[in-house]
Point group: C2
Chain length 365, copies 2
């Protein structure tokens, strides 16, 4: 292999593929990225055996070939390089020679034959979605999944395809975030899958630097996201996702519309006085919401938040982190807090948007 | 005590005093800051028994008094507060009531009588220096002192006052940074002291938000820096600082003038190929500097850096971290690297400035 490439192109490609690679894997090739010429471009690939990423960057191909090199080392080397261009050439002993102006470097690599095959997925896209829409949908849900869960289903993110929608959901049993994302055209069927949280979070990071359209492909046990110049392939989680829709209440007794930032400030103030329990009390009366917390050691806080209230007086105790997770990940100026009583699920929805619901259980003392 | 204060003033004052306070000290009062009315202003104080900080902020004093409250809690509370003003009032049981618009809060504190006395230092300034000059001098030296040193003298920073200069020096035996700082007027005598590195680093952080003049006071075992609205008091380190001047070579065999950024890039590239040893080879020939490093595992790198060279060819092995520490903390476009041979101290000086010298020992393999 011999290719010439701009530093910027190479840097961008390395940035995309390097995220899933570790640096301390005892199987050295899993710390490496694969560089390979591919139809006039340079293909970079990485995998951690659960997730694989391929990306393509432009360059001048002088000789076809392939080689793997340590991801961390080539990343740091290219990032530090002050030159505009670099020539990459594989030499004997699986070494990569990098030449650019005054910089002469050899990086020890491993043969491309040692690199795990990243599986191919079906060649027909199952669904197409706008990159921004998918990014927003992930941003509003992924943090709600269960960390370190013994029940693997809810450690992942649910995606249910039906006509021109995906229902994207995440829960840890105590709270649930659901976002309906709109597809660019009807999906090729109905399908329910569970994606590892890590996969969605890697896809989210790629979406941050993508635009245009994303194609989603499936095989029996795998998903492929195809972005601009990048593919992300991941296994799916086996099992069936809990039927969470049944716990979303149909009706509430109290609805209060409140400025999101104001509510956040009040919760953060209360949070300082709930250092051990995380419990804050949220009380709704006709003139607004009152947030309170107190602790023997720290003291106490009461904050009044203006709100437009419809329905009954109400109050319940919440884990402030569960409320803040949702409020911090929305962008609307106002949200609606919906309650039934101190033992039934409450809901947060953004004002003026009906594609997002957040459900949170009160704390029973 | 009852005072009204703007959030911005209080936030700034808390920021300054909170640095030296811990939050996990078993002696609770050492996690607290002291709030005290003082001649029409609010005085905030903190101490870790080695360093004490006092700062004053404006406010409306309605009732004189004093109280201590947990630094972390009041800091986080005030930082989160969206209001412009806040009223602070001490109530029975050493509690601080904070009132501002919709926010009603009580923070449990401790009596001001439990707060350690921050000692008074002499009332005559020993020296006066421009804040910017002192900040720059600290920035170019403090990182060179010995961390976790069994010999306490060199864990600190040396300050030698003589006429209108301070010699500020730090060393860990393998390298030495010396900066001559200019006083605004001759000092009230000659004096040599050693300051704890933590003290200098706290002073540096206060200097970052200070301007104008800094006064330096001494008592037998203590130093006081007086900034705009802030005082920092610290113990001094006992003992006498090594006579480091004798190791600074008077003459060198080779002097090469090189662009600082270019040299940094070359060292960082080499550093990637010296992962275990930190050793890079620096070779000087008439046409420039060549930096090389290699490792069995990673590969090898050679970078040529353009330089104006006077004197003999030369080469030596250095710990790249010791070179980068110095180069990263200078701001000049070019520096001069001076060498004798591969076993004698080398020097780095910034071009066009004679108040700074960095000495570094080569590695003998």
């Amino acid at each position: 292999m011999k290719v010439e490439c701009t530093k910027e192109n190479l840097k961008k490609g390395l940035f995309v593929v390097s995220r899933v690679v570790g640096s301390g894997n005892p199987l050295q090739v899993l710390n490496n990225i694969l560089l390979k010429t591919d139809q006039g471009r340079i293909k970079l690939s990485s995998t951690n055996l659960e997730i694989g990423v391929n990306t393509w960057v432009g360059g001048k191909i002088e000789e076809d070939g392939a080689l793997t090199v340590p991801a961390k080392l080539i990343n740091e080397y290219i990032n530090n390089l002050p030159t505009e261009k670099v020539t990459l050439e594989s030499t004997e002993n699986s070494t990569l020679k990098l030449e650019s102006e005054n910089y002469h470097t050899s990086i020890k690599g491993l043969s491309h034959e040692d690199f795990p095959l990243i599986p191919q997925v079906s060649d027909e896209p199952f669904a197409k979605i706008d990159a921004q829409e998918l990014k927003n949908a992930f941003a509003e849900t992924i943090w709600a999944s269960a960390a370190n869960e013994t029940q693997p289903e809810i450690s992942g993110i649910f995606m249910g395809f039906d006509q021109d929608q995906i229902r994207i959901a995440a829960t840890d049993r105590y709270r649930l975030a659901e976002r309906i994302a709109h597809l660019l055209e009807p999906a090729r069927g109905t399908k329910e899958v569970i994606l590892p949280a890590r996969t969605v979070s890697e896809a989210y990071k790629i979406l941050n630097i993508s635009s245009g359209e994303v194609e989603i492909y499936f095989s029996e046990s795998q998903v492929l996201f195809k972005f601009d110049e990048t593919e992300l392939i991941s296994r799916l989680i086996d099992g069936s996702y809990p039927d969470y829709r049944q716990i979303i209440p149909k009706e509430f007794k109290t609805e209060s519309t409140v400025e999101r930032e104001e509510f956040i400030h009040a919760l953060k103030a209360a949070a300082l006085f709930a250092p051990d329990s995380n419990n804050v009390n949220v009380e709704i009366k006709p003139d607004g919401i009152t947030v309170t917390a107190s602790s023997m050691a720290a003291g106490e806080n009461t904050t009044k938040v203006n709100a437009k209230v419809k329905g009954d007086d109400n109050s319940a105790i919440f884990n402030f982190r569960y409320l803040l997770d949702c409020l911090n990940n929305l962008s609307e100026k106002t949200i609606v807090l919906k309650m039934i009583n101190d033992a039934s699920p409450a809901a947060i929805v953004p004002t003026g948007r009906d594609n997002y619901t957040y459900i949170v259980m009160p704390i029973k003392l």
